[in-house]
Symmetry: C3
Subunit: 356 residues, 3 copies
Amino acid sequence: MTLAGTDATQDGGEGARTLTAAAVAKAVSGRLIGDPESVVRAIAPLDRAGPDDLSFLASARYSTLLATSRAGVVLVAPDLAESAGEGVKSRVVVEKPHDALLALIPKLYRAPAREPGIHPTARIGRGVALGETVTVGAYAVIEDGASVGDGSWIESHVVVGTGVVVGRECRLHPGVALYPGARLGDRVQVHSGARIGSDGFGYVFRQGAHQKIPHVGRAIVENDVEIGANTTIDRGSIDDTVIGAGTKIDNLVHIGHNVRIGKLCLVMAQVGVAGSAHIEDGVILAGQAGLGGHIHIGKGARVAAQAGVFGDVPAGESWSGYPARPHRESLRSYAALFKLAGMIRGLEKLLARSDA
Amino acid sequence: MTLAGTDATQDGGEGARTLTAAAVAKAVSGRLIGDPESVVRAIAPLDRAGPDDLSFLASARYSTLLATSRAGVVLVAPDLAESAGEGVKSRVVVEKPHDALLALIPKLYRAPAREPGIHPTARIGRGVALGETVTVGAYAVIEDGASVGDGSWIESHVVVGTGVVVGRECRLHPGVALYPGARLGDRVQVHSGARIGSDGFGYVFRQGAHQKIPHVGRAIVENDVEIGANTTIDRGSIDDTVIGAGTKIDNLVHIGHNVRIGKLCLVMAQVGVAGSAHIEDGVILAGQAGLGGHIHIGKGARVAAQAGVFGDVPAGESWSGYPARPHRESLRSYAALFKLAGMIRGLEKLLARSDA
Amino acid sequence: MTLAGTDATQDGGEGARTLTAAAVAKAVSGRLIGDPESVVRAIAPLDRAGPDDLSFLASARYSTLLATSRAGVVLVAPDLAESAGEGVKSRVVVEKPHDALLALIPKLYRAPAREPGIHPTARIGRGVALGETVTVGAYAVIEDGASVGDGSWIESHVVVGTGVVVGRECRLHPGVALYPGARLGDRVQVHSGARIGSDGFGYVFRQGAHQKIPHVGRAIVENDVEIGANTTIDRGSIDDTVIGAGTKIDNLVHIGHNVRIGKLCLVMAQVGVAGSAHIEDGVILAGQAGLGGHIHIGKGARVAAQAGVFGDVPAGESWSGYPARPHRESLRSYAALFKLAGMIRGLEKLLARSDA
């Protein structure tokens, strides 16, 4: 089965568009081989594609799939153009099939449909400022003094806290909660269940109890940031928590209070960043990495999956392991570790002898 | 205090049922010692059980608790049958007390009560297909073109996205969100706050920005799957994300786009699986394990807690550690590592001497 | 820009209060240097503070910021009192500037405002007991037989399950879900998206399927506990899950079924605790640490970030690493590991020679 039918829009609704092989070739400035009239309605991987589907072959690793594929049209790299079988009606030869495919998705799949307007069940507080052509979904709650910019889409069950600012053309998916102190720029996407501006984890131990430090800082999310499902970003204690413009954050990530993340960073799933860490522009944090409090990650640095970072990482470097070290050092250390198992007895004997 | 009273149903409501010791023995085909007429209303651990409670002793480790227990009826293994004290009115001797207990829970605790019907506050979109005896709770939102199979239970504040398919006898706990592209089979249980079908983490860097790859694949959850609280499962980009029949997923797990998980797998809390990983049937992933993208985990393999898996794991093998290796290798390596600390100085001297 | 204006309350609303430098000095019993009449309305870090802001300098590391700061009033430690520049109107010298600051926050920021009453859109089930001056927000759902103590605040979209007990002066932030079996004490704070009392991850493999173990235990949260955003706490299977009084839990933490956590513990973000682990009073679990099932953590023990704990930890000890060991052992082992990389070739030669 393919992505056609009820998947024919990104939003899962009906309404497939169609493209001819010729139109595909033209759109990606590729070279057409085969029937220019064959029509595609959807995109599918080679093994599941049918005569109505567009597919692609980017790597020789999958060329066997192309030989048996029944796809109507296949985007293929020049060196692999000849590996197609009988089943494929038309091929379009392009340098980068996958990139070309991205250009075609909007031509075959409608973007999610949005109807401007406030759903009758939405609760809008006192002094709320709503921009033009805003959409507010069922059971959304916008508390007193909040503002939402032009063209933003607040989906069902979203809670926008007191005094929160949401910019233009933002999209908050169902069940997002923005605490007071949250400030979103323009074109920010927040996925379902994300919490922005929650109190940081700060206590002072006094009179036999952990006494809560009131949090009065903000959680500032700059333009063009995307935040994944069920991710949590705490507000600052006195200073602010800041997510820089164009940074993308995956699911189930934790960002502690007063953390500053620069522009155009990539933060992958389940990463945890402890309070007051400072991450410069263009940093990549891979899945499940953990960063200690108050550390500094230099511009363009990369932190590998599951790394445990307890000190500063210089700009441009790649670090990995626990405790995190420059990636090459870590690789050598872990390689040595796995050799050590077979050597340890012999080494013990050597030491015993040398002591004697 | 015991589980009786307001805990007398799984759903926390009133309405204890009762069993006599004789009925317990009959139900588990066990041998009764003591008063056949003693009545139990609930189940409690040995140390908290009272005369109205059923309890159990599976391991000699806890036999001292049995000596002082006041439980009305105790399920006990043959070799431990004699360790009960005065306080216990009746014992029922069975081979596997814990398994026997599971058979008795439904006899003492009512399953959660469900009243079929659509709550007046639920919002049902255009072209939604609801099966027979479906329950839709308060403030649930079912978007256009979605379908829900016979006997399914959509609890309060659940959001079922446009065109989503939910099978028969499913249960979606409060606050679940299903994005467009989600497809649930039959008897699927999804716990509170889980997000299924969220966009995957996919961008291409162009013109100085991370440009979002539109996701048009599906998130397919097959029959008899259970998904834990606040877990996130991304939809596929072009291919699908698939969770195989009978697989159980714990809380706070992340499943990336295009991941394929086989049948009857167990995925424990906080596991993260990166995009396009392929996991065969019967695999066990222990808590906080992380799997890299595009890797393959063979049938019946086991990945230990916190393991960092960056390559393929062959069928049937157990791997652990960082980077993950066959479990025995890892154990030997870590054992050697902890010995090394005490040897390193001596080894340095040996090397110095040998260089001289 | 500063925290003044729309951030002038913890809740993000309007209504700044003001303090003179003299009043500040009096409140913290500090020594005033400079203009006693200078007025502050908000608190900001040194680099962002303006003439209307109170700021502080706790560490010499930031004394250069003080030289150029334009803060109206600065709390400063005795040894740093002289490092202020022209821009600062008044200084207040105190031993612990940060602690002093905490005492001043309530004087400048209003606590979040709460209006007692049940929102007309809230759904209250049969036999629900609500205490005095309770607040229930928009679209909250309180199921049959639940009870909420005096002065508690149930925010919008919260779901309180059948028979659940919530104590006095609790605050449940938007979108919290309490499953049946949850029991909250007094002054418990639960942050947005947390799930308490979800079914534990328990199955028995029978007739070719993972069969679910019905969970009938409770999730007991004692007085003065705070629970972070999107954290999940499972109910017990037959025994209970218990979080001890005064314990604080951060975001995205997983607590498995039957886990017992003592009083006054600190559990940091993304920690995972497997079923039936027993954690004594005053334990600190740092971020992303993982604890195996059925293990015991002694009173006052500390577990370092990302540690993988598979055995018992004695009272008062600090453990770290994978597999976790006493912290000093781990440090020595990892230090040796990083030396080993440079030695491994030489050691291999030594062994070869000695074999010869």
